[in-house]
């Protein structure tokens, strides 16, 4: 099982779907950011798995995975700073209470 590309890709798809469910369903803004991190990690797993099983992609996949990690770190920094800035104004981390435009 550990020698088939399909197993890794299916695992990656399952983790991605769990992350998308968390992003769509959770109320807490930080939970949504955590779900985004899950989805990014699932994509990274797919990239590394392709690199391990497809000859022409072998060294490139590790480099791409490292660059995706750096971009994910930048995304987490800016996202959490935005959540903290909104929290300072609205005093709640729950996204369905950010309804200024609806009132």
């Amino acid at each position: 099982m550990s020698n088939s590309l399909d197993a890794y890709l299916v695992l990656s798809g399952i983790i991605f779907s769990i992350g998308s469910f968390g992003f769509l369903a959770r109320r807490n803004a930080i939970s949504m950011l955590m779900s985004i991190e899950l989805m990014l990690n699932a994509v990274n797993l797919a990239i590394v798995a392709f690199g391990a099983f497809v000859d022409t992609l072998r060294p490139n996949s590790s480099v791409i995975a490292l660059i995706v990690m750096a971009v994910a770190a930048a995304e987490a920094t800016v996202g959490l700073a935005i959540v903290i800035a909104i929290y300072r104004n609205k005093r709640t981390p729950l996204v369905d209470e950010y309804d200024t435009l609806r009132q």
């Binding site: 197993a7 469910f21 369903a25 391990a52 060294p59 959490l80 903290i84 005093r91 996204v95």
Partner: protein, 178 residues
């Protein structure tokens, strides 16, 4: 005493057992991340999920990516998220509702997504070799600083911009409010 080639009772290889254990632990902790009520525990389950993923990278033969996963995700991003949780949670937050009103449609959409992904993966020929091959770390380093040196520099500039932007967004404004 020599270690046998395959697991004695089950008759499958050690790396298969390792893959299945890590995959099961990763799916379980990912489910905990999206369902637990206490958000601090969500963060800890996320760290466990990243640890299992680092193990999977080692199984796949990408040790550099595994080390970067441990350093960046478990070491840096999880700590950042835990600090943000401590800064933004009120005392009565865990007692309130975890999911929005659209949780059931979101669950249905995610199930449809996973079925689509499984069907696509299993019905496509990816041109994969039957045995996985490790990628040597020195080859990765060589290609990172020759062929991919421009993306590497661009990503470093992006990180710098993100750090400056994060500090600007999160710092308190003395005049009160943004």
């Amino acid at each position: 005493m020599a270690i046998p080639d395959s697991v004695p009772i089950l008759g499958i290889g050690w790396d298969d057992v390792l893959f299945m254990l890590l995959a099961a632990a990763m799916i379980g902790s990912a489910l905990l991340v999206v369902t637990l009520r206490d958000i601090i525990r969500c963060g800890l389950a996320m760290m466990a999920c990243f640890g299992c993923l680092a193990g999977l990278y080692v199984v796949l033969g990408a040790p550099l990516v595994a080390a970067a996963e441990v350093l960046i995700y478990i070491g840096a991003i999880s700590v950042l998220i835990l600090f943000a949780i401590m800064l933004t949670q009120t005392k009565n937050a865990p007692a309130r509702l975890v999911f929005q009103t659209q949780a059931v449609p979101a669950a249905v959409a995610s199930l449809v997504l996973v079925v689509l992904i499984v069907l696509t993966v299993t019905s496509t020929d990816w041109g994969a070799v039957p045995v996985r091959m490790a990628s040597a770390t020195d080859a990765v380093a060589r290609i990172l600083f020759s062929q991919f040196v421009l993306p590497f520099e661009v990503v470093s500039v992006l990180l710098l911009a993100a750090v400056i932007g994060g500090v600007f967004l999160a710092k308190r404004d003395e005049r009160g409010g943004l």
